[in-house]
């Protein structure tokens, strides 16, 4: 499992990992041996704990219908996929759950977005520059699995004395945005990032919001189809301005390689 790759980061930060499923001990033993899993995989055969905790996924057959797959009886008993973050006293500080039984977050995302700690288990990264700006993009894994949520991070760096427009933005100006070139089955989520700061241009009546220095954005990506090994093409588009002038809008592009991996023990 992908979580094992992040284990060193969790251990360094003294965070214990537990994973719970309805699999029997023997199944978990094989899985752990095959993938070198060293954190506890807890066996909740019969989904007793899953059910007692109220996490039994009661939508799984509706989801089958939604996905157009034949009903699989042995899927009954799975929990909603997700994770709890506990503090040192064992109190829940966050719940991060997905509605679809097919989705899951990476260990890197849980570490960075959940615990707000830096991950060393990064995926490929690439950078490119244009006049006054540079972007550096990276994925939180070097491979995708169908329905696993990956996070694309994009760092925007603006040269001192310059700024890039964000929203809200008056007509005629181009706000910073990130686009991912279409790939069959790829769902790109909404761009998340810091709030740009208000900015007034002398002599102009309009209110602007701008990014200066460095700003980090994030985009969730979910592949819903096997599209083979591929290249994720990321374009940062925006308008760079000084206190007096604006350059025409520019687009800065990078490419990130991504391999396709199959889910464990199944070839879907």
């Amino acid at each position: 499992m992908e979580l094992q790759r992040s284990l060193a980061d969790y251990q360094r930060n003294d965070i214990a990992i537990f994973a719970i499923s309805y699999d029997a001990v023997g199944v978990l033993a094989q899985f752990a041996a095959r993938h070198g899993i060293s954190y506890p995989l807890l066996s909740d055969t019969g989904s007793r704990v899953i059910t007692a905790l109220g996490l039994l996924n009661e939508q799984v057959f509706e989801h089958h219908a939604f996905y157009g797959v034949a009903r699989q009886e042995h899927h009954w008993g799975v929990p909603y996929p997700g994770a709890f973050l506990l503090d040192a006293q064992g109190v829940v500080t966050q719940k991060r759950f997905q509605s679809s039984y097919r989705e899951r977050e990476t260990g890197v995302a849980l570490l960075e977005e959940g615990f707000h700690l830096a991950s060393t288990a990064r995926g490929p990264w690439a950078s490119a520059a244009g006049p006054g700006v540079a972007i550096r993009a990276y994925l939180d894994a070097d491979a995708y699995r169908v329905y696993q949520r990956l996070r694309l991070s994009v760092e925007l760096t603006v040269e001192p004395g310059l700024h890039v427009y964000g929203r809200p933005i008056p007509d005629g100006y181009v706000p910073f945005d990130v686009e991912v070139a279409p790939v069959t089955g790829l769902i790109v989520g909404a761009l998340e990032g810091p709030r740009p700061r208000p900015f007034r241009v002398e002599g102009l009546d309009e209110e602007f919001a701008v990014y200066t220095g460095r700003a980090r954005f994030s985009l969730p990506l979910v592949f819903t189809d096997k599209a083979g090994d591929l290249v994720v093409r990321v374009a940062g588009r925006g308008q760079v301005c000084s206190a007096r002038d604006c350059l025409p809008p520019i687009t800065v592009e990078v490419e990130l390689p991504l391999a396709q991996r199959n889910h464990v023990d199944s070839d879907r």
Binding site: I15, A16, I17, F18, A19, S21, Y22, V25, V27, L28, A29, Q30, F31, A32, I37, P40, L41, L42, S43, V49, A52, L53, G54, N57, Q59, F66, H75, V78, P79, Y80, P81, G82, A83, F84, L85, L86, A88, G90, V91, V92, T93, K95, F97, Q98, S99, S100, Y101, E103, E105, L110, G114, F115, G189, A190, P220, V222, T224, V264, D265, S266
Partner: protein
């Protein structure tokens, strides 16, 4: 908060009141691990922070 962005028509579930709640003690969970060793989650946690992941299966 996790971002919900699955296909637009997919029914989205509000997990606030499903399962253990934020700011509550995570319940006691005692289950065997992959070695067959019965594990008390809070004891095994040993005063550390923890990530408890629920996933569908090691088989599919």
């Amino acid at each position: 908060m996790a971002i919900e962005h699955t296909s637009r028509q997919f029914p989205v579930i509000d997990f606030t009141s499903i399962g253990p709640r934020v700011d509550e003690q995570f319940p006691d969970v005692i289950l065997p691990d992959q070695h067959g060793v019965v594990t008390d989650l809070h004891a095994a946690r040993a005063g550390r922070r923890a990530l408890v992941v629920f996933y569908r299966s090691a088989r599919w």
